[in-house]
């Protein structure tokens, strides 16, 4: 360790060396880019239908809603929390939209109801986690049952299906006709940009990293940790609301089992993106890349008619291998270093 030099050259030293942490993340994202490139290449070879603008556009609709929820989930996991109730919130929101739709509410009204109910559910989680200082994994396992349970109780033996075509066009429409960019995908891209800028360029983002790395030190430094956690849960609920509006509109139907199991897919996206459960580590570009990788692989394998469960095996394996690889490499490197000395 050399003495920190206070001479003017130190600027050069500073500019020349990237943060250790950032360097690591950079490598993670490089790996993801390579993985994505590989996935695209393999897909183009195994299926002649892959590189088709309409097909790719269709492919995005199948993950955009989940991807939207992955953004606030990234921030939550970054600060050391988790929201397992996301899929259940989607179900409750869908229920609320359905009930209002049956009352004849206008499409934009339904959208607002969706966002409001989502935010409310998020606020409920947030109040329990931030207010009562309960562990979020337990709280959201509870609300996961509670929210979906409410949907089951309310819907009982019916599904709500008579959605107005104007409302359905939210989920089925396109922002521009050529190239055909579905609304949900465009929204995801826009939100990803906003989340990326906020996380990586603003003081709010810095605060999130600080809380994720050391919540106590962050609190002692004047950051409002509890409020931040609360806001993140509300944000998660809000975007679940948006995702639910898009999903409900896309399939034009509300059933209590809507979006079953999505929480695990969403968490998979975030984890593959390099966000660590220990908190304080991960980037939005990483998560976006992971989403594209998962989307590409899923789509490619479905084009050759792999069953969904076979695709999930592949994804499970990719998840384990990508998380394990750096750990194993690091260990090998250490062994090599100590062996050679």
């Amino acid at each position: 360790m050399s003495q920190f030099s206070s001479s003017p050259e130190s600027g050069a030293v500073h500019a020349g060396a990237a943060t250790r942490l950032r360097g690591l993340l950079l490598r993670w994202e490089t790996a993801l880019v390579l993985l994505l490139a590989a996935a695209i290449a393999v897909n183009s070879v195994i299926s002649p239908y892959f590189l088709d603008i309409y097909n790719l556009s269709d492919a995005t609709t199948n993950f955009s809603e989940q991807a939207i929820v992955a953004l606030p989930m990234t921030l939550l996991i970054l600060v050391g929390e988790i929201d397992l109730s996301v899929a259940a919130i989607i179900a409750v929101v869908s229920l609320a939209i359905g009930v209002c739709s049956d009352q004849g509410m206008a499409p934009y009204g339904l959208m607002l109801v969706g966002l409001a109910v989502g935010a409310l559910c998020g606020a409920f989680n947030g109040a329990l986690v931030a207010g009562l200082r309960l562990p979020s994994i337990v709280v959201t396992i509870g609300t996961m049952s509670l929210f979906r349970g409410i949907a089951q109780v309310a819907l009982g033996d019916q599904a709500i299906t008579n959605y107005a075509p104007e409302f359905q066009s939210f989920g089925q429409g396109y922002v521009v006709s050529w190239p055909p960019v579905p609304n949900s995908f465009a929204l995801f891209l826009g939100l990803a940009l906003v989340f990326g800028v906020v996380l990586h360029r603003t003081r709010y983002g810095r605060a999130l990293y600080a809380i994720g790395n050391n919540a106590v030190a962050a609190r002692f430094s004047g950051l409002n940790v509890a409020r931040t956690r609360f806001v993140l849960f509300v944000m998660s609920g809000l975007l679940c609301g948006l995702a639910s509006v898009l999903l409900t509109a896309r399939i034009g139907s509300t059933r209590p089992n809507i979006a079953t199991g999505w929480e695990l897919s969403i968490v998979t996206m975030v984890v593959l993106g390099g966000v660590s459960f220990e908190g304080g580590k991960g980037t939005i570009p990483g998560v976006v890349l992971a989403i594209f990788i998962l989307g590409t692989i899923t789509w490619g394998l479905s084009l050759v008619n792999f069953a969904g469960i076979e695709i999930s095996v592949v994804i499970g394996a990719i998840l384990i291998v990508t998380i394990a690889a750096p750990l194993v490499l690091k260990r090998l490197a250490r062994r090599f270093a100590s062996g050679s000395s």
Binding site: M1, S2, Q3, F4, S6, S10, V13, H14, A17, A18, T19, R20, L21, V198, R201, T202, R203, Y204, R206, A207, Y209, A210, N213, N214, V216, A217, A218, R219, F220, S221, G222, L223, N224, G280, K281, R334, A337, S338, S341
Partner: protein, 510 residues
Amino acid sequence: MTIEPMVDSNEPPVLALSGVCKRFPGMTVLQGVGFTLRRGEVTALIGENGAGKSTLVKILTGIYGLDEGEICVGGQSVHFASARAAWAAGITAIHQEPVMFDELSVAENVFMGHMSVTGAGLVDWRGMQDRTNEILHLLEAGFSATTPLKLLGVAEKHLVEIARALSHDSRVVIMDEPTAALSTREVDDLIRIVGRLKAQGRAILFISHKFEEIFRIADRWVCLRDGRQVGSGAIADVTSADLVKLMVGRSIGNVFPTRETAVGEPTLQVDGLSNATEFADLSFVLHKGEILGLYGLVGSGRSEALQALFGLSRPTRGVIRIDGKVVAIHSPADAIAAGLAYVPEDRQTQGAVLAFSIVENVTLASLRRHSSGAFLMRDRETATARSVAERFAVKARNLDQALGDLSGGNQQKVVIGKWIATNPRILILDEPTKGIDIGSKAAVHAFMAELTAAGVAIILISSELPEVMGMSDSILVMHEGRVVRRLTRAEATPELIVTAAAGTLESNVA
């Protein structure tokens, strides 16, 4: 306390190290360390932070392996593959922060890792508890084997650690800064216990930054600097000045800077600050350029009171005025806005974000000033961090180095720098030099003088009498949540402060 060590110089040393080397990727942390520990002797291991003391402890307790050299126990060369192997060889350590299990009972904490079993292979709860109670009795502990650990205080937890060492019947007991979190009275108790261990013929390796303690209990000393052993010998043959010189490689003149006491007008007035269980009726006036020392035993409520002042907890009562105006402080953010800054006691968990770079740590408490709108300005951040690093002579490769890679003293400099970056008018320093090396300590003290000269008011919480007395213009002594004595610099004597802090009654600080 007149227990004569039972030294028999014909016996082989209990523990002998020779040529011990340890490397981590990219650096050598220990090189050529060799000394011996003998029955019934206390050997003090001294050195600045980062000198390699902790690494040595980890090697001796089997947490790390060593790259070169030899460890002999009772004349036999040994190799520790795990903590268990070190135990088996009769070496146990009492760590600086108690490493224990809050959810388990005292007996289990004592015997975890080496529980005895009955013939049926089941845990012998009865025997374990009896054994523990015996040892606790020996240590005059006021709790029993079945007490859940979470109900004990820090000093009592240290007793449990000592009981653990005794349960192993260890020949070598390593104490890694056992007094760092203890009050003076508790330190006395500990020293008495060390004396007893000595009388039982155990060899003790005692690590401390406090020369006063070292000269009280140690027979021999070993000094490390930058991973090398730079000297060893009998305590009787050296003075503290000699040791300081060896540790830092240069001599340090006067430990505390001389300050022009130019106390200005009042800036912070606290009136009747209280909460339900921890402190009551804290009132004082702090002037510009003043250093107000706050002395008290651990658990006297001093940190709790000032944390409440800083908005980290809610007081039930009390009025805070800054420059004559009543301010409402409900959160640290309010406190920062009011011109307060608080450097917390526990650097690792409360002060530093170890994964963050120096820059990111320095600007954490003043993000708003380092951004335009919501957007962070990297240039502004770097400029602030550079000025902090230069002012404190922070040792680091560059400003983007993660704080976790720096030594404790340098981490502390950055943490203090973080608060300086908020331009505080009132700075609260909670044990700012706890567990940091002498060089860093001096830098912190010099900096305090510099700040007060610029009109900043400082509240200094410290358990170190010389520090409180050397730095403060006036001193408040707290006991059981209340201020029991107010002293000016001129009035203060160690006896006055210590008796006040101990309270008139026999207090049991749990």
